[in-house]
Structures are given as C-alpha cells and as structure tokens.
Subunit: 229 residues, 2 copies
DNA sequence: AGGCGCTCTCAGCATTCGCTGACCATACAG
DNA sequence: CTGTATGGTCAGCGAATGCTGAGAGCGCCT
C-alpha cells in the first residue's frame, strides 16, 4: 500500500493523523519540522504528503515549494489555519495540490489526500485498454474478458496479474517481481500463491490449461507471457 | 494533448495556473484581459477555458457570453469571488459550464476543468435525455422514471447517480470515482454510502433487486452499469 | 417559528466471495 | 534416479458486499 508523509509539529495532530491514515491502510511517516520533512520526502518518496503550514523553523511554504521542485508529481495537501489562506494565490504559488483549513474533518482530509494521490497515479494505462492475443480478448475498461468468444469472469487479483503480464509481455518475470508489483510491498504471501493465481489465469484463459501457450513457465526462474498474435 | 486558455489578469495566478495545468500535460495559453482572451479563443480553439470574472476592461461576464455564442461547445469554467456567484442563475445565463469560488483548491479547479472537457468531448456523455433499457425507462428532462411501465420516484441523489451510470455505461466505475463525480468535492461520505445508494437504485429499478442485471457488482473493483437493450 | 416528512449517512449484522497456504501429484534438472 | 520446482485441489478465514434500522440534517407546509 501507499506511504503517507505527515509534516506536522503538534503531537496531538500527529497522533490523530497517524491513526487515521493507518486505519485506511496507509503506511505513515511523521516529520516534526520542515527540514526533517523534506529529507524524509526525498528518501521515502511517499505517495502523498500532508503538510502543516505552521511549522517551527523553516516556513511551511518553503517546504512545499522544495518538495514540489524536487518531485512535482508528489501530491501535497496543505493543512492551514483559516487566516493563512485568505489569499488563495499563495497556495497556487506553492504548487500545493489541495488544502484543508483547520479545524478540519479527518474524513475530508482523507478524501482530499486520496483524490490527489489517485490523480497523480492516473496515467498508469501504458497499454491500450483493449487487447487481444490468440483466441483471448481483454477489455480493461469494462473488465470483460473472453476465450474463444465465450465470456470469462476474472477476479480483481487475476485482472491485476493479467494486466502486469500484458504490460511486460515477452519478458521473463520472477515470482518476487510479481509479489512486489502486483501484490505490493505491504502483503507478504508465499510465492506459491503466485503459482496459484497464474494457474487460475491459465485455466480461465488458456485454450489447453495443461499446455499453456501464453502463460509459460520458465522452470527455476519464473513466468513469461507471450502474446501469440 | 489538449490546450487550455486561461483568462486572468493577476500575474501570480497566471503563473500558478500555467504551472498547474502544464504539469498535468496540457498546453496553456494565457490572456491578460477579456478582449485578448476572446481573440485567442477564436484563433486557438482551446479544449477548455478558465475565465476570471474580475477582469480589467471588458467585464468577464461579457467575455463568457461572447465565447459561448461563438463556440457553444467550448467548456468555460469561471473563477470568481464568493459574492459574485451568490446567484447561480447568473452563471447559467452566462452559459458557463462550471464555476469555482475563491479561495479555491487547485485540485478542485483541475478536476472541474477536466470534467467539463470530458462532458463536451464525449458524445456518448450527451446521451439523449430519454433512454430505456430492459423494462426501465428514464426521462431526464421530465425527471420521470418507470419500471415495467409503473412510474418510479427517484430522489435527487439517485437521479444523479443513475445519470452517471448511464453516461458511463459498460465501463467499470470505482466507488471513489462515484464519490468524486456524483457527490462532489464538498461532502465526504464513506464508500459504504455509495453501496447504499446503489442498492436503492437496484430496489427501485431492477426487476429482481437480489439479482441485479443492470447495476452489476464487480467484486473488489466497483460497479458497472449495463444497458441491456 | 414550529412541526412534519423525506432522505442522506453511517453503524452493525449477515452473507458471499476469493485469497491464501496447506497438501499431494507430477514434471523437470542434474 | 533423486531432489527440487511446479501443477493442481481443497478448506479456512479474512475481506468485500448486501441489507436493515436509527439518527440527523434539510426543506416544506402549516
């Protein structure tokens, strides 16, 4: 799952935000001041940053600008008192993606952070949403798949796995790679689980699951997806 | 990629918006006043226009009306102070597609501009106001709906939700997407609320609410609306 | 202004779904 | 031929979803 960096000096808000984001499944790192936040951001490369404008030492606005200049694609949601954003120009100049004024609703903050993250992650569709190879067709927009014209129902995980195979076709993929990129860094299933899911894909999509053509086994190495046509 | 025209006199906002949209992949042109904006709009034919109502010289509302009369299909998102849009009717008269009041969140502006562009670009989105699928009929101009010929009363939210489903038929829609596009940026319900509203729609419109045909659940992904006929 | 009705929201419970990891059988490499 | 890696089956369990009911906010009518 994604990582969130919270730059905030008030320990109470620190704790509250930490709990909030943790329960939503995020990994949370907390920085007490701007310098620490900036450093952490560079090393950690979080999916999103929650930044309090009122910080000891370095002004929050400089932190924001630094983060944005260093990695423009990291979404930053600014936390600020009402008076500070009387001038909304400031926020635009900072390059912040969104802001929430104190006192804020935790749920609103969550929603805005998640929306900001999703926005940056959006251009992931490297390949087309509709592909076909052999007697298999896949539509990742409608999430509809078919083998020999017959519709096939895939689960969420199977779809993610298939997507990864298609995006990395004609290349050998290790199980560890699949665990990292498809399952993510926060869940740690066995490599056997990967075998299981690959088998499911074969059974659902291969013409003869016992003699796989597209999802090939590279014995001792991993798997390789071959388009076929 | 698409081109955005920003009509804004404040150089600071100019710069900020320019950077904001550029990082999103748009080509940005800036006009400092209404006359220049109108001229640029005619020559450039941008995909969308961001228009500040507070402009030197020509009033922003006249600029908006001119743009809309010249090319009604160019989406215009108006940037205005709170007091100016006390009456939303004014905006409708102007022909603006959407508006954002200052102080605005950068992300909200982006989202509204992109949503406006998406609406105008998608001929499928401008579906007829009267549609029917299966034993269900929907008339979005009269706001009348029926199942098996029997009239069904929908609430405002249910109508918006149904509209969104119809406009994005045959495509998988996540709960987060629904929260953003149907509920908007000012309320922050849980994704479970989405489930509830979808269930309401099913109970009111599905022949057998327990076995939904049109409002399908994509387990672990979201929902998908299927017209059927 | 006060009462009434509507509906949105959310908590909680019931149920379904499918991921996970055990197991055994089989194929491959040395 | 032997050991290891992979194919395949199955049950348990956690997570996702369906559904109900209560509370709160809001507009409308009196």
């Amino acid at each position: 799952m994604s990582t969130i960096l919270v730059v905030e000096d008030d320990p109470r808000i620190q704790k509250a935000l930490h709990r909030q984001f943790t329960t939503e499944g995020y990994t949370v790192h907390v920085a007490g001041d701007g310098a620490e936040g900036l450093a952490t951001c560079k090393t950690l490369k979080p999916a999103g940053v929650v930044l309090d404008l009122m910080l000891p030492g370095m002004p929050g606005r400089d932190v924001c600008k630094s983060i944005k200049s260093w990695s423009p694609n990291t979404p930053v949601v600014v936390l600020s008192a009402v008076s500070e954003v009387a001038d909304k120009v400031l926020l635009l100049e900072l390059g912040a993606d969104d802001y929430v004024t104190k006192p804020f609703s935790p749920r609103e903050l969550m929603a805005r952070v998640q929306a900001a993250i999703r926005r940056t992650q959006k251009p992931t569709g490297s390949t087309s949403n509709q592909v076909s190879f052999g007697c298999i067709t896949a539509d990742f927009s409608a999430m509809e798949f078919s083998k020999d014209g017959a519709p096939v129902v895939l689960t969420a995980n199977e779809i993610k796995l298939l997507r990864y195979f298609i995006d990395h076709a004609e290349r050998v993929i290790t199980r560890e790679e699949l665990l990292n990129d498809v399952w993510g860094y926060t869940s740690y299933p066995t490599t056997r689980t990967v075998d299981n899911q690959v088998m499911k894909l074969r059974q659902k999509l291969e013409a003869d699951p016992a003699k796989p053509v597209h999802f090939r086994t590279m014995h001792g190495i991993g798997y390789k997806f071959v388009g076929g046509s």
